[in-house]
């Protein structure tokens, strides 16, 4: 059902956890639907220097969060915004059709974290 990459990210997820005093926090989904994804980012000079996630969801959701955090770590905000769910799926070596929305969730959580960062950043500057 899942590719080896999905299983690897599910069993050995990268960047699990939370960031205290994160510059941006994104949360999408809801427990009713069985999925909540939370992404924390630390930003320096418009570059994402650290990222962590917590996810309540299926295997694909956990793997998507993991791979997405891996993909944006070290990237600039603009580069991170260019990441789509298709790229997440690609990085996982594919997802079953019924699991496409889990990768969408990862894209949305990412954007939501960046939006949150921008909002905080604007206020600060």
């Amino acid at each position: 059902m899942y590719t080896e990459k999905v299983m690897d990210h599910f069993m050995n997820p990268r960047n699990v956890g939370e960031i205290e005093n994160a510059d941006g926090v994104g949360e999408v989904g809801n427990a009713k639907c069985g999925d909540i994804m939370k992404i924390f980012i630390k930003v320096e000079d418009e570059r994402i220097v650290d990222v962590k996630f917590k996810t309540f969801g299926c295997g694909a959701a956990i793997a998507s969060s993991s791979v997405a955090t891996e993909m944006i770590k070290g990237k600039t905000i603009d580069e991170a915004l260019a990441i789509t769910n298709k790229m997440v799926i690609e990085a996982l070596g594919g997802l079953p059709d019924v699991k496409i929305h889990c990768s969408v969730l990862a894209e949305e959580a990412l954007r939501s974290a960046i939006e949150d960062y921008r909002k905080n950043h604007m206020q600060k500057s």
């Binding site: 009713k32 069985g34 956990i62």
Partner: protein, 389 residues
């Protein structure tokens, strides 16, 4: 790697005795039971002997047994067959909110055909209340269908009392006993059951064969149309090896039930006790009125699939929600009907035991699951919140 199959409610392997009975029917006694030559008569005899064996195990008469392609077809035939044959008397049907989709989706389809269906709620243990059932009966109620035991949480319904209430008002009573047969003693006559569905592959028999019992005198319309098989109530060349396999499996199960149930209940309760030590764990379903082989527990803050995948990597086969929908992500309609909230319903795990499980298997699961739950909780934002961090 150790392999522990704990998904017997989804399907079982075919026992070697059953396969041995089926084998000669593939290559040698392969005739069409409708043919009048020697090959045909041999096949006919196999079918009719099997019918008698099934009847005997259920407390029915041979002419009350109809072979189908499985539990799903038995349910479809029971509901559509009785509804259409009796619609002149009324168009109201009663069922429960926790039925298998084979019953629920058929009921929803019947609603589109102009029938009215009442879906009874259940209590926190998944039991239909007899009072609710009685209150739901109307003058135009023709049929009630309440499952014998639930496939997800293993709760056994008060079938005798429900059947009695139905009969007091002239309502025909069907029960989906796909999960109960082989684990609960059933005597359709004594219990007042008018129609009963069962399936081969849940009792160590083959897939692709099932039975609908219909009490003599109850009218129902054939749904599969064609030849005059099964006394004109189910067309299609008889699946002779499948039928022989089902009969053999049912006989075996009936024979072994007393000892096997005691063994399973001991294992089941050991498993429940062991897993209950995990924090925020909850047993779903009735503590005692439950199938000997069913364990269903919720572990808050995490989602079922993650548990399944992790268990699978350790060689343990389990299920979350019903087998038929474990590929989908809706939370179980059964757990929601029992009043669980969405999160808890999402974190449910079903472990269903069977003939091949040992105490060692159980202890292996008790050993492995706590770590899995903890690891997934560490990733879960809900857990962080709950702990007030």
């Amino acid at each position: 790697m150790k392999k522990v199959y704990l998904d017997h409610a989804a399907t079982t392997h075919v026992k070697s005795e059953v396969l041995a009975a089926m084998l000669p029917v593939f290559g040698q006694s392969f005739g069409n039971a409708s043919s009048i030559h020697a090959y045909g008569r041999e096949a006919r005899k196999l079918v009719e002997d099997s019918r008698e064996r099934v009847a005997k195990a259920l407390g029915a008469k041979a002419e009350e047994i109809y072979f189908t392609s499985g539990g799903t077809e038995a349910d479809n035939l029971a509901l559509k067959g009785v509804a259409f044959a009796n619609q002149k008397k009324g168009k109201h049907i009663i069922t429960s909110a926790i039925e298998h989709h084979a019953v629920l989706h058929t009921c929803q389809w019947l609603e589109k055909q102009g029938f009215e269906v009442t879906y009874l709620p259940v209590d926190e243990y998944g039991r239909v209340r007899v009072e609710d059932f009685e209150k739901a009966i109307r003058p135009d109620t023709i049929l009630a269908s309440i499952m014998f035991a639930n496939n997800e949480v293993g709760t056994i319904e008060p079938i005798e009392a429900l059947a009695k209430a139905a009969h007091a008002h002239g309502v025909i009573f069907h029960t989906d006993a796909v999960q109960a047969v082989g684990q609960v003693e059933i005597d359709v006559e004594k219990m007042g059951i008018d129609l009963l569905s069962m399936s081969g592959h849940k009792i160590y028999g083959p897939k692709g064969v099932g039975v609908l019992y219909v009490k003599k005198g109850i009218r129902f319309e054939a749904q599969m149309l064609g030849g005059e098989h099964e006394r004109r109530h189910r067309a299609g060349t008889e699946n002779v090896p499948g039928i022989v396999g089902l009969a053999t499996a049912l006989e075996l199960a009936t024979e072994q039930m007393p000892q096997e149930n005691a063994r399973l209940i001991a294992l089941r309760d050991r498993l429940i006790a062991g897993l209950s030590k995990i924090p925020y764990a909850k047993l779903n379903g009735h503590p005692t009125q439950r199938l000997p082989n069913n364990v269903n527990m919720s572990f808050s803050f995490i989602e079922g699939e993650g548990m399944l995948l992790s268990l699978d990597l350790m060689g343990i086969a389990a299920s979350s929600g019903s087998a038929c929908t474990s590929g989908s992500l809706d939370p179980s309609h059964v757990l929601l009907a029992m009043g669980l909230n969405h999160e808890t319903a999402h974190g449910s795990l079903r472990l269903s035991l069977g003939s091949d499980n040992t105490q060692e298997d159980i202890d292996y699961v008790i050993d492995k699951l706590p770590g899995i739950v903890e690891r997934l909780r560490q990733m879960s934002p809900l857990y962080t919140e709950a702990k007030g961090e």
